[in-house]
Symmetry: D2
Subunit: 335 residues, 4 copies
C-alpha cells in the first residue's frame, strides 16, 4: 500500500483525486489538507461532497507548518491540487521530505521560467526545479514518469489537445509553418469550486474566453514543438472537454499515414479511436478516465479535422495523476 | 406616456422590468437606480446584460439621497426591485413624493407586521403602511390595484400557487381541515444575481430547500385563507416555476364544479387552461407573461392535482408589476 | 464466477447492467440478447454506447428460439431488461432451464394479476408465477431474495418512494387514513432509449405526466400497505430521481421516533441519511448505486417532509438487480 | 396589411415565423399549411406549441392541390419552411400566382445547380429559377431583396458565419490562399422537430457532425467568395448558434482596419459589436433577432479570432425571413 496525501483536497480536482486514491486497492489516502485560512478545515470531505458519504469521510486538515512537515512521515507521495503559485512554493519542502510530488497545477509544467510572470502572474520561486519536473502525459512519458521525483500533471486542455496532436507531430504529418487551430469547449467544473459571476448558473452559456492569450496555449506549443492557435470556450455542462482541431497536413500524407500515427494507441484502455464515422460526445467520457479520438481528412485540401474528448477532472487532472502515481510506483494497473 | 423609475435596476428582476417598461408604447423608463455601494453605478444596463444592447442602454444611477428625492420630479411611478428591508425603508419617502409605488419585494405583502421578524429577519419600519398596500395579484384585485398608491407585487411561488388555488377556495371546493400540498420547482434565476455556492453552475441540481419554513408559505396561506404545505425546490434551469398541487376536495365536488371554478380565467390572455390531457411544461412559459394551468381529479379519492407554470421573473415578478402599472394608470393593455 | 445473461441488452437499463456485471470480479457476462427484430443484433454493445468501448464489447445476440433455449447451458442467472409483457412470457422458459431470473420489468411485481390489464395493458400469461416472485427491494427482503428463483426488481419510482416510506409504515408512524403525497421527478433516461417526441431534446422541460394513473402508484401502495397519491414528472436531466414526500404523522410521533425508524439504514453503504439541514440533490446520486434520504418534521401540524434521491438506472434498476444477484448467490459484496 | 402564408407551419421554423407574422402590426397570417400526409392537419398550431395559445390558434391546413392554387387569392407573400426539395418543387407554382416567395430551405440558395445532387441529394427541378433567386442576407442585399420575387433566406450557420466574415472579405483583409476555420455549435432545434435518436434527450451532448462535408460549407464559400473549413457541432441546448472563426489576416492589416470593416454595422439594431473584451454567449441571443459579434487580433501572428452568435430559428431563419419581407414590401420596420 502506497500512502498518498492530497493538498488542496476541498476543490473539485482534489475531491475527485481523493476518491480515486481511497478506492484504489494499492493506494491509501493518508491525509487531506486545506489552507489554514479555509473555512472547510475539520469537516469531512463528504460534508462538502455528499456523493462521497461513506467513501471519503476523512476530515480536511489545515496545512499548518507542523502538519506540512509531518506529511513525509506518513506518506510516500503527495498530490498538489493547489493554486499554481502555492504548488511552486510547497514543492521544495515536500521533495526535501523524500516525497514523490505530483503537481496538478501549472506550477511546474514549463522548463522556461519566463512563462510564469507572463502567463501566470508570478515569478517562479524555484526555477531550478523546472528542469527536474517531468511532464506527466502518461501515454507519452512512462519511462520518465517512472523515474521522476516531481511530476507536472498536464492541464486539461493540453491533455485533450496533445493526445490528438502528438501522434501527428511525431510522425511529421503537420505542414511546416502551418498553425493548427484548436477550438475547445470545457464544462464549468474546469473553472474550479469558487463561486463567481462567471460560473453562476444563470450566466453560463456557450462562449469563448481567454481568446489568443490563454496559458494553455504555450503549454500545448511547448509539449508539441509546434505553434498552434488555441481558443477555449465555456460550455453549459458540468464535466468534460471537447477539442476540435483543424490541421493542415504535409504534402503527400494519406489516410494510411494517419491511421498508423494514431495506431500507437492500439491496446490502450485510456485512449481510444472511435470507428470511422463516429465522433466523440462529451458525455461519452464524462466521469471516465478515457480519451476518445476521431479524425477525418479532406483529401482535396489536405486538411485534417481531429476531435478529442476527455473528462476535464479525470483524464484532464485526477485520473491522469493516478496513472502517473501507478507508473511511478510500478503498481498493477500501470501501463 | 407614464414615466416609471426602477430602483434595484441591476438585478435580474429589475433588468427584465426595465426592458418591459422601455419597450411599452405607453410607458417611459425615467431612471434606473442602484445602491450607492454598487460597483455597477454609471454603467449602461446593457453592459451587464448584453441582450439589452440597443434596448436599454440607460446608465445605472447611484441612489444618493439627492437622487432619491428627485425621482418624483420626473416619474409618476416607481418600482422597487430591492431587498425586502430596503423596500420597506424606501417606500414612505417615495409615497411622500406622490409616486405610485410598486414593490416587487416582500416588504409590503403582509398586513401582519409580525411576519417580518419571523420570516424576513427584520422589524418592519412602517407597519402602518402594511394596511394600505394592495396585494397585486393582477387577475384577482384589479379594482383595488386601480386605486392603490402602494402595490405589493406578489412573490413568484405565491403567484403560481394562488392562480391555481384561489378559484378552488373562492368556490369552497377544498375539503375543510385538509392541507393542500404544494410542490414547486423554480429555475435558478429565482435566487437572484449574486454569486454564491448554492447557485454555482456545478452545484445546481434538483433539490428541495427551505423545507417547512419558506417565507412564501405564509404569503400563500394569508392570500388563500387556507393553510398549505409548501415545499420549494431548485431546478437546473434558468427561468420558470412549476407548482404541482395536491388538494383534497370537499365532498360532492365534481368535474363540472372544477371547470366552472377555473372558467373564470376564460378570455384572459395571461392565465390559460390547457386542453384536458395536456400538462404545462416550464419551457412553455419561460420568458412569457403567461400562466398555464391544468388539472385532473381522482374521483374515487376526491383528490385533485392541479399544475401551474409561470416564468418566475415575468408573471412571478416583472410582467405582473407591468400588469399592475397598466391597471393603475388605466392604460390600453390593462385587463 | 457466476455466469449471468442479459436479455434486452441494448436499452439503457440493459447496458448499465451489462457493464456492472462485466466489471464485477465474481460475475461474468455470458450473453447479451436482443429481439430477433432488432436492428442492433450482431453489433458490439460498445458500438451503441461508446463509453463502453473496451469494457463491454460483447455483441448483441438475437433471441432466437434456439438461443433462448441454450441460455441455461452457459448461465446460472438471467436478467430481463425487456418490456413487461415480454418478461412475463419469457420467465417460464427460463425458470424451466433452472436459471434464477431477475426481472427488471414490471412483469412480476404484483401478486394480483388484475393489475396487469388495468395498468399494463395485457392479461398476465402466467398468473401462477406472481405468487412465487419475490419483490427485490434489496434492503427490505434479503432473506426472501436469497431463496428466490424469480426476483421482481422494483421500479425506479417505487424504489425511491419505498426506501423513504417503509421505515415509517413499519413503525406505524403514518396517520391512519391519511394519504402521503409523493411528488417525484425523473431524468429522461427513465423513458427508455426509443426516440419519441416526448423525449426529443427540444420538447423536454419539467412537467407532470401520468397524473393520478401511473402504474407505479399501485406498486408503491401494494408494497407499502398504505394508499398514496403519486405524481411523476419528467425533468430536463439525463439521470436520477428525486421524490419529495409529504406525510401526515400519527399523533404523538416525535423526531426521536423518526430518527429510530430511519436508523435501520445505519451501516448501509447503499441508503444513507444526510446530516440534518442537508437535502439530497439529484446529481449527488446520478451514476451511483446510492439512495440519499433527508427528512424534517413540522411539529405544529405533525407533517413530515422526506426527500429521497436515487439514480433511476442504477438503484432504480441495474444496481439494485446487481444487489439482488449478489444476495441470491451469496457473493462477497452482498449485504 | 400584407397577407402572408406559411407552408410547413408545423415545424420549429414555421411556428416561430407564424408567431412573428401574426404579431407584426403590418402583417397578417393568411394561412398555415402542412403536407397532406401530416397527422397535424386540422389542429390549431397552439395545440402543438402551447406557448402559442391565444397567439397563433390558426389551424394547420393540408396543402392539397386546391389549397395550393388558392394561396395567391388571399396572400401577397408566401414563406416556405419546407424540405429543400419540396421548396424547389413548390416555388414555380407560387411564383406563377404572383406571390413573392421567401424560401427558408436550401432549395434556392445556389446559382450552381450541380450543388444539389452533391450536397442535397436531388436534381434541382427548376435550375432556371436559381439565377433569379436573391440570397436574403438582409444586411448585405437590401436593394436586391427589395426587388426580388424569390428570396432564398440564408441557412443558420451561413448567417452567423457570413455576418462575421463578409466585412473582412469585402475589405480584402483575409490572407490570400488561407483557409478561415469556422467552428460552430448549434442548439438542437437546428435539427428540426422530427424525433430521432440523434436528438433524443439522453443522446445529446457536445459533438462534431457533418465534418468536412456539411452543405453549409459551399453556401458560405459561395457567398463569401473564399474557401473555408467549416465544422458544425451539436450542443446540449435548445436555441442558438455560436460560430468561432479563426482567420489568417493579410499582411499589414491592423486593428483600425478591422474596426472600420466591422464599423459598417454601426447603427444596425440587428447586428451588434460587443465592447472590447466581451464575447458573445449563446443565451444573449437566444430567442432574439440579433447577431452579436466580437473579435481580437494576435498581432504577432496576424491571426484574427471573431465570434458570432445568433438564434438559429430567428436570425438564422424566421426573423431573417421577416426582415426580408419587411424590406420587400417597404414596411416600417425595414432597414
Amino acid at each position: 500500500m502506497i500512502q498518498v496525501a492530497v493538498i488542496g483536497g476541498s476543490g473539485y480536482t482534489g475531491a475527485v483525486l481523493a476518491k480515486l486514491i481511497a478506492s484504489h486497492p494499492q493506494l491509501s489516502l493518508s491525509g487531506l489538507y486545506v489552507s489554514e485560512a479555509s473555512q472547510d478545515q475539520g469537516k469531512p470531505l463528504s460534508s462538502l461532497y455528499p456523493e462521497l458519504l461513506g467513501l471519503v469521510d476523512l476530515a480536511l486538515t489545515p496545512l499548518t507548518e507542523g502538519n506540512l512537515q509531518a506529511i513525509g512521515q506518513q506518506a510516500q507521495a503527495v498530490c498538489l491540487a493547489t493554486e499554481h503559485q502555492i504548488s511552486a512554493e510547497l514543492a521544495p519542502q515536500l521533495l526535501a521530505q523524500g516525497l514523490v510530488v505530483f503537481d496538478l497545477s501549472g506550477g511546474h509544467r514549463f522548463e522556461d521560467a519566463e512563462v510564469y510572470p507572463q502567463f501566470y502572474g508570478f515569478e517562479h520561486p524555484q526555477p531550478a526545479l523546472l528542469n527536474e519536473a517531468v511532464y506527466g502525459l502518461a501515454e507519452w512519458a512512462p519511462e520518465a514518469i517512472a523515474q521522476a521525483q516531481l511530476v507536472a500533471v498536464p492541464g486539461c486542455y493540453p491533455t485533450a489537445s496533445l493526445l490528438a496532436l502528438k501522434p501527428l507531430a511525431q510522425a511529421g504529418l503537420i505542414a511546416n509553418g502551418s498553425l493548427p487551430v484548436i477550438n475547445a469547449v470545457s464544462g464549468v467544473s474546469g473553472a474550479g469550486r469558487k463561486a463567481s459571476q462567471t460560473t453562476s448558473f444563470c450566466n453560463v452559456s456557450l462562449t469563448p474566453y481567454g481568446v489568443l492569450g490563454h496559458r494553455h496555449q504555450p503549454e500545448i506549443e511547448t509539449q508539441l514543438g509546434h505553434d498552434v492557435v488555441f481558443t477555449p470556450h465555456l460550455g453549459a455542462f458540468k464535466r468534460g472537454i471537447l477539442a476540435t482541431i483543424t490541421v493542415a497536413l504535409a504534402d503527400g500524407v494519406n489516410d494510411q499515414d494517419l491511421a498508423e500515427a494514431y495506431g500507437q494507441y492500439e491496446g490502450s484502455d485510456k485512449v481510444q479511436l472511435l470507428p470511422a464515422g463516429q465522433w466523440p460526445k462529451v458525455d461519452d467520457v464524462a466521469g471516465t478516465d478515457r480519451c476518445l479520438l476521431a479524425w477525418k481528412r479532406d483529401e482535396q485540401r489536405q486538411i485534417l479535422v481531429v476531435a478529442s474528448a476527455i473528462d476535464n477532472l479525470m483524464k484532464g487532472a485526477a485520473s491522469q495523476a493516478l496513472q502517473c502515481i501507478l507508473i511511478r510506483f510500478n503498481l498493477g494497473g500501470a501501463q
